[in-house]
Symmetry: C3
Subunit: 158 residues, 3 copies
Amino acid sequence: MTPNSTTAEVRLAKLGVHLPDAPTPFGAYVPAVQTGNLLFLSGMLATSGHTATVVGVVGKNLDMKAGREAAYIAAMNVLALTKKQLGSLNRVSHVVRLGVYVAATPEFTDHPKVADAASELLRDVFGEETVSSRLVFGVASLPLGSPVELEVILEVRE
Amino acid sequence: MTPNSTTAEVRLAKLGVHLPDAPTPFGAYVPAVQTGNLLFLSGMLATSGHTATVVGVVGKNLDMKAGREAAYIAAMNVLALTKKQLGSLNRVSHVVRLGVYVAATPEFTDHPKVADAASELLRDVFGEETVSSRLVFGVASLPLGSPVELEVILEVRE
Amino acid sequence: MTPNSTTAEVRLAKLGVHLPDAPTPFGAYVPAVQTGNLLFLSGMLATSGHTATVVGVVGKNLDMKAGREAAYIAAMNVLALTKKQLGSLNRVSHVVRLGVYVAATPEFTDHPKVADAASELLRDVFGEETVSSRLVFGVASLPLGSPVELEVILEVRE
């Protein structure tokens, strides 16, 4: 098998990480909607169940490292939800859009370094050839006090 | 007629609410663009004409209830614009994405409760089976001082 | 040739502006991803290379005019990246979505006037008949200190 034919599920297993339970909604929405071959995920936070596992504002009471940890946790939730929705991560043909929204101070400028913690995990699982476009900005605040929220649009195959 | 065959127009009539005039642009853009069977709406605010009917920041000079009122007004504008664009709300086959952007303080954490006022109206009109994915975050400020802006992507049928 | 048959490349040439080099990523993402006939661009900033050419927060240390200048620079980057990705601007059949995210104070309300500097350039190049839907809000902060970030989804033809 050539490296290019390695699947997302194989890459995930090689990383040795254990997926959390997929997040469930805390409001009048659903976790994801598919239209055509695009799957729109609801915003993924740094949560476990309905509790934020990292809380704060980057540049205020959280440093870059804590922001990256939150982005990583949210990206793990993306993987867990995607697997639950599609049955297998191998059904993702492309990560079309990754939005990384960081609760940050007006002075903060290193949002891309926080965002990379999410981008790198998705790249390591879905592969270099399906790396996403990206949108990154600092927001005033996020649900539950999470420092990071991820927006994900996936292209999926049957 | 089974409950599932009830249409959006019938549900709207049963709610007894009266749609406002559809918002018009205040800048170099159009109210909505359709590509394939996806309709992207421009951001809908808590406005009547080109004036915000609720103004402020949630957690600062507005409480949750005022935020929910703003979200409801913006969602009414979504319905009005959708009807104007498509001729009938029955042409909406799915609410793919609802983004709820709340002008909020850094300390605010209850964005989902504000967002639900919009989600619940769209669900009551378009039906449980087409409930959207959702993206919710707190922004620094919004056009005209509106406390809520809605992003909507709809899947439409001929 | 009728006005309607004028192409984006002809309009750009008539404007007499010179496109900058297309922005390159500063993180684990790619400049753009195409799925079907939709091209999702990564967020475009007021940058030259990996440096912001306008820095600040609108309503705080930047006025409206500086915000509009930043929006124009970011829109020039949109044109440069689109041309690099597609080979020709003539392949754009519609600007589906333009998001204009302005680093702004909680008190700022004139985001649409800042956004129009980007909308007007895209309209002048791609034509009145392909003007976008639009989403505009004020964010807490942006990568590199840029006062404006643009989100763009394009419909493209072969």
